[in-house]
Symmetry: C2
Subunit: 274 residues, 2 copies
């Protein structure tokens, strides 16, 4: 037993559906997102009592607690991230997945990669804090979730692309409020967006489908709408991160529109031990 560290990319969702199921590992969402170089680094070491810290502060993250309980782990979890919380970057899912990978290594639990992803995905679904971030973070790149659920159930393709990504986080939105409400229209819009990107699996197709989804699912806040419009006006490509008061843009889109944006990039690989 020793210390172990995992890195999990952030993940912004461009469009999605809600796919409930009895079994949380079968439940989830279809949709598309970007895995980001800005992510969460999670270090786990055996300890006398269970503690979870995020950027130095004690925190309770339901999905992480569920992962640790399932692994019967009395460990100290230390997560570090530059990403803002509650803003649509999948920080809770990333911390849960990182905790699963690092705890498995630190305590030699002997689970496979897919088993750990399924564990973190199910924990996140039960916690109500995300439906597709964990499996997108496990894949990396620009994942297109064609079938929902954990690794045994889902089917993931991807847009083959790399490049700089900028983001601007203006505040929090509550994922749980949206995904536990009436999701019929949202899911119909998500299905249309996914069909469009499957027909045209390029970054251009991805961004256009994301913007149309945000409009059709009626999720655009006035603040986000105005920033996205500024980026388009300046000749760039941007949309809203689902679900946060957050705009993400390709290349130098936000900077060109005069915003002081954070800079990262599409992260080609998935979550991994360090």
């Amino acid at each position: 037993m020793t210390e172990a560290t995992a890195f999990v990319p952030g993940h912004v969702t461009g469009f999605f559906t809600a796919e409930p199921a009895e079994d949380p590992i079968e439940a989830g969402s279809r949709g598309g997102g970007l895995a980001l170089g800005d992510g969460v680094t999670v270090t786990v070491r055996p300890a006398d009592e269970r503690t979870v810290r995020l950027n130095g502060e004690a925190i309770e993250i339901d999905a992480v607690e569920r992962v640790l309980s399932a692994l019967d782990a009395t460990v100290a979890v230390r997560a570090e991230t530059d990403l803002p919380l509650g803003s649509g970057f999948g920080v809770s899912g990333a911390t849960a997945l990182g905790a699963a990978l690092a705890t498995n290594a630190a305590l030699e639990r002997g689970l496979s990669e897919n088993e750990l992803v399924a564990l973190a995905h199910g924990a996140e679904v039960r916690a109500g804090t995300g439906l597709g971030d964990v499996v997108g973070q496990a894949r990396g790149g620009v994942p297109l979730r064609l079938e929902p659920g954990g690794p045994e159930y889902n089917y993931i393709d991807a847009v083959p692309a790399r490049g700089r990504v900028e983001y601007l986080a203006r505040g929090e939105l509550d994922t749980e409020d949206v995904i536990t409400g009436d999701t019929e229209e949202l899911t119909a819009a998500g299905e249309r967006a996914l069909s469009r990107v499957v027909r045209e699996p390029t970054m251009d197709g991805f961004m256009r489908a994301s913007r149309r989804f945000a409009r059709e699912a009626d999720l655009l806040t006035p603040e986000v709408r105005s920033v996205v419009e500024d980026v388009i006006e300046a000749g760039g490509d941007a949309s809203m991160a689902m679900l946060g008061e957050t705009v993400f843009a390709l290349g130098t889109g936000l900077t060109d529109a005069g915003y002081d944006a954070a800079v990262t990039e599409i992260h080609p690989g998935g979550a991994t031990l360090e």
Copy 2:
């Protein structure tokens, strides 16, 4: 249209089955391997005639030709690698997959990641030069191919592990000779190896299953057997790369046994554009 570059990790197979099928994208193998940081970098640019160079030399690689024909691509392909050829590192598959990713980007062909992986996998199977390298290289890490074929058909898990890998290549073996011969015993041995690693998805379990497979499938050459024994004797962990006259070892296994080995590491991510 512009120049594009892709990186594809090398891939050593520890154990495998042969799974023929009418459709080459459905055919392939089950088994386990290591994706390696030493890989193939493939650059593609539009050109007046089709040329393929590997480390500066003109070369004809059947799987690459098939990929370029399927993409209707008149391009110059430049592949660079430190890996030895014909030694079990999947260089032909890596070059085919890199050519698919880079050509799709350079000529804006608009295919998805899975479509490109399926294309390269099918080309490699038809060429008879590999059954599972391409899909292992697309996944990265320590892929366990639980179901054969391209992305639409296969199911891949992985051993969650990182670390240094050493290798010693002593000569070529012809993959085509083995995989087009009588593969019944080989496949039975491969199934047993895979079951063992599924029960114990750790590097320790992986290496033990690989050694047992090499013995049971009667693929160990005297030279490889002797080097593997030396590594075990020195307290390390090694096995044979399928299919090459090649030994791979974890950590400093070959060095500790007194061999002048090449050093690389488990590559966590899969093939990607640069």
